[in-house]
Amino acid sequence: ETVTVFAAASLKTAMDGIAPLFEEATGHELSVSLAGSSVLARQIQQGAPADVYLSANTEWMDVLEEDGLLAEGSRVDLLSNTLVLVAPAPAEPVEIGPDADLAGMLGEGRLAMAMVASVPAGIYGKAALESLGLWDDVAPQVAQADNVRAALALVALGEAPLGVVYGTDAHAEPRVGVVGTFPEDSHAPITYPVARIAGQEGAGIDAFLQFLQGPEAAEVFEGQGFVRLGG
């Protein structure tokens, strides 16, 4: 049996790690379609053959839930992530708080973020900066990328002296260093929910949902810098 998973593109590395483990452990096959969470959600709305949806934010999962497209009771908050400030490596750590002189650190440079109004990493980032009272200082200098990996790339290439990305991204990119982690309470919790799509049934799907919450998957996720929730 093949299980088709629609997963947020930022989970590519993790899914690549999990797939062979899952297949070996259960004998089922895994097919992972990676794209933006919003794209995937809309596709599910249009009848995409997804068995499982793994979103990078709660909003689109909520939308599907309201549409009744999720199998009842299957939704689980699977992972959590941190939000960090990165600079080209080696980075000098700084305490991220209301007193941080972000503007000074930027100088003429840009602050790389994902789109602050639409892409989750950007939304969280903007909220965090606002809650720390730093947003207005840096707003004119924010360069918004279409996804968080692109923001990361800007920093990795040295085009931007600073960037706001997920902890997992910073973890995986050797060319950047973490300047500091945003306080957990400066933004809404960063949650990756997973759910089964209504009407899709099978042993493989159940096995996969279970496997995701199991220890082998946890090892992969944590190796990436994710925080396991619930399970």
């Binding site: 088709t4 629609f6 593109a9 930022s10 590519k12 590395t13 690549d16 097919s31 992972v32 379609s33 990676l34 794209a35 794209v39 995937l40 809309r42 596709q43 709305q45 249009q46 009848g47 995409a48 053959p49 996804n147 990996r149 990361l152 990795a156 991204d169 995986a172 990119e173 050797p174």
Partner: protein
């Protein structure tokens, strides 16, 4: 084979299939519409022209969404098509459709330019020799616009090989089914430090497209030389 993962080879094969089909299937339509736009005056001509160009104007993602909204399995048209056994959504056929639509304006433009350059007097001469309209088209117009058709086809093929936004939005990114080379590249771009993989895939895609381009140049030159009588 070890050089690329099996999944990547799958994406290469799929992309080739998608681009070839997209090009070949859209070609007759492209020729017909180019001809209509170049030669006929009819109500709705401007509209048709706009429609053809739409995929160029809109961000690809929007085109993808529009396709999803009309041809998705839950959409009226898509549902109807599904009932008669034609499914695009989340199939490689859908990828071909998206690529074909994205490439369509390029193809139509090239062919239309060629048609506009054809000397109507030659078609008239064929008419006086007894050739009915359709035969005039087949025996005179078509051979004369061959360079434009080749150019249009190669543009379309290249675009179809590179098309990403509309495709991933319409048919998603399912390995072996809808994951084309650009989608695979996109996925790898999500992985920090996977530049090596990205470069490999880009190289494959460039090599394929350049080969197509060289072939087209060669065909185009042969055709042009024939017509110029060299």
């Amino acid at each position: 084979m070890g050089w690329l993962s099996p999944e990547a080879w799958q994406a290469v094969a799929l992309s080739l299939r998608v681009a070839l089909w997209a090009t070949l299937v859209s070609l007759p339509f492209g020729i017909f519409i180019a001809f209509a736009l170049a030669r006929w005056r009819f109500p709705g001509r401007g509209l048709l022209n706009g429609l053809v160009h739409l995929p160029l104007i809109l961000p690809p993602v929007v085109t993808g969404y529009l396709l999803l909204l009309t041809l998705g399995t839950r959409a009226p048209v898509g549902g109807f098509l599904q009932d008669i056994g034609v499914v695009f959504a989340f199939r490689w056929t859908g990828a071909a459709l998206a690529a074909g639509i994205m490439a369509f304006p390029l193809m139509v433009r090239a062919i239309r330019l060629s048609i506009e350059a054809v000397d109507v007097k030659l078609e008239q001469a064929a008419g006086t020799l007894g050739a009915p309209r359709g035969m005039v088209f087949l025996t005179v117009t078509l051979p004369l616009i061959l360079p434009g058709i080749v150019a249009g086809a190669v543009l379309a093929f290249a675009k179809a090989m590179g098309e990403f936004g509309a495709t991933i939005t319409f048919v998603s990114n399912i390995p072996g089914q809808t994951q084309t080379l650009p989608s695979a590249i996109y996925a790898f771009l999500q992985v920090p430090g996977a530049e090596g993989e990205v470069a490999k895939l880009v190289l494959v895609s460039v090599v394929i497209a350049l080969a197509a381009l060289a072939l087209a140049e060669w065909v185009g030159r042969a055709v042009a030389a024939r017509v110029a009588g060299r």
